[in-house]
Symmetry: C2
Subunit: 281 residues, 2 copies
């Protein structure tokens, strides 16, 4: 007998992954948490039935969510991560000696605990003394903050269920106020290909560009996400990631498996059909 899990990329497209064994299944206060050991991708974390990370390709997502803003402004000292319960974003941030404080606000403590047990490498940054974990709602956390952070990373699930508020206009406005003058907001920005994802991509972009003078979108190849074509948003009051000098980051000599300064520039070169979708909002 074979054991396969299925993620629906749409009603009419399914992605099936062969499983060695299920390592964990639990229902937290917010969502269903599953961890599988798979043949193709190593360990795999799913929340409410959607693949979040796999051992084989989590480096792509975490390289692109962290090193793009850090290379844009290597002076970043104070960082807020919203979501990111698996720890991969925090792990990449802790590689910068110059960062002084990393606050992570994750709604679901159970995700963090489970990832500490089953994804030891991914979760390895949690024990860094600069990291402070808050198990509460990110939307409330940023509300009312004034010029506190250099960088806010919204490492959220899809905008259904617990992640929904993290795609709203009011939330992005609060992030704007919580950021310092040179502050950068990075957010999980969905995908242009399947209809539901593209709808959320457009909605998110519309909300961010109402608030930030600089509101760009960059892409990466994420094989275990629907279509493999995934996006992050880069918003800032002052900093343009495409024209900035990246030589300071080069000098840091941080070893990465996906990110490099050539891909930093290349990632902002979007297909014409994606440019058009973002412009029409």
């Amino acid at each position: 007998m074979e054991n396969w899990i299925t993620e629906a990329h749409s009603d009419a497209v399914h992605f099936n992954v062969k499983v060695k064994e299920q390592l964990y299944h639990g229902q937290s206060k917010y969502q269903m948490i599953d961890i599988y050991d798979t043949y193709a991708f190593g360990r795999l974390l799913a929340l409410d039935g959607d693949i979040m990370i796999t051992e084989k390709d989590e480096f792509i997502y975490h390289d692109m969510i962290v090193h793009v803003p850090m290379a844009t402004n290597p002076d970043i000292k104070k960082v807020l991560v919203i979501g990111g319960g698996d720890g991969g974003t925090v792990r990449e941030l802790t590689r910068y000696k110059t960062i002084e404080q990393i606050d992570m606000v994750e709604l679901d403590e159970q995700v963090v605990n489970v990832c500490r047990d089953y994804f030891k490498d991914v979760a390895s940054g949690f024990d860094d003394p600069r990291v402070h974990l808050y198990f509460e709602d990110g939307v409330s956390f940023v509300s009312g903050l004034k010029e506190v952070y250099d960088l806010i990373i919204v490492d959220s699930t899809d905008p259904f269920g617990p992640g929904e508020g993290l795609f709203s206009k009011g939330f992005y406005e609060n992030c704007f106020y919580a950021l310092k003058e040179d502050g950068i907001l990075i957010n999980q920005h969905e995908s242009p290909y399947y209809e539901n994802d593209a709808y959320e991509m457009k909605r998110s972009h519309a909300n961010i560009k109402r608030t930030f003078d600089i509101a760009k979108v960059y892409q990466f190849h994420m094989p275990t996400y629907p279509s493999g074509h995934w996006l992050f948003g880069f918003a800032s009051k002052t900093m343009d990631p495409e024209t900035v000098d990246l030589s300071t980051w080069e000098a840091l000599d941080i070893k990465t498996k996906y990110y490099n300064t050539k891909i930093h520039k290349g990632a902002f070169a979007l297909p014409t059909y994606v440019v058009n979708m973002l412009e029409e909002v």
Copy 2:
């Protein structure tokens, strides 16, 4: 009852697509040919059970295989297409008034005939008077040619079965001789993610860079191919696609849905893990 087709991306990863109806099934001298009408992607062509094109995203593949070399050298007049039985590559080439001759060498006439019937838009270039179809083996066709073409596009299936010779060292050498001094070779270059595809990517690159002074690889987001991360090779005796002036192409004002001159440059920015795989061959 529901009808789903399955493509194996690897032994342990399957991609399933829901089908409205099967429009065609036939066994040619070389391969099994299937056409389905699908809910998510419109009509879909499969050869030996692998997805070749779908109506929803064939524009991505054909934009990137044609406009990258044509923007690099808009003086291209004589083109050889090897494979490409669906016609999409020829369709994009016929949009250039400056091209004088397009020879297409496809082993399997049945693929061309079926695509003329079921993919009328994709196959629409076949009737252009500049297009000459040869139903024979591409490997033999290029053998012995001397400085005939400005551009050779190898629009092949995977390197198993009928497409295998189109990945060999001897074939690339014959392409080198068949190209004029400023000639460009573009080839279907597989993908870095799944093990079998990555093996062929490395083998192909090793063979091309032994022959051509300039041997680069560029990427695009192809949602219906395994991992969504797909590559073409760009080889030339003299022309560097990354440093060339693209303003002549801009002035042509050709409307594209994926390609643009920003993505032309960005597509050559490969992830570090891919750069490393290509360098180690």
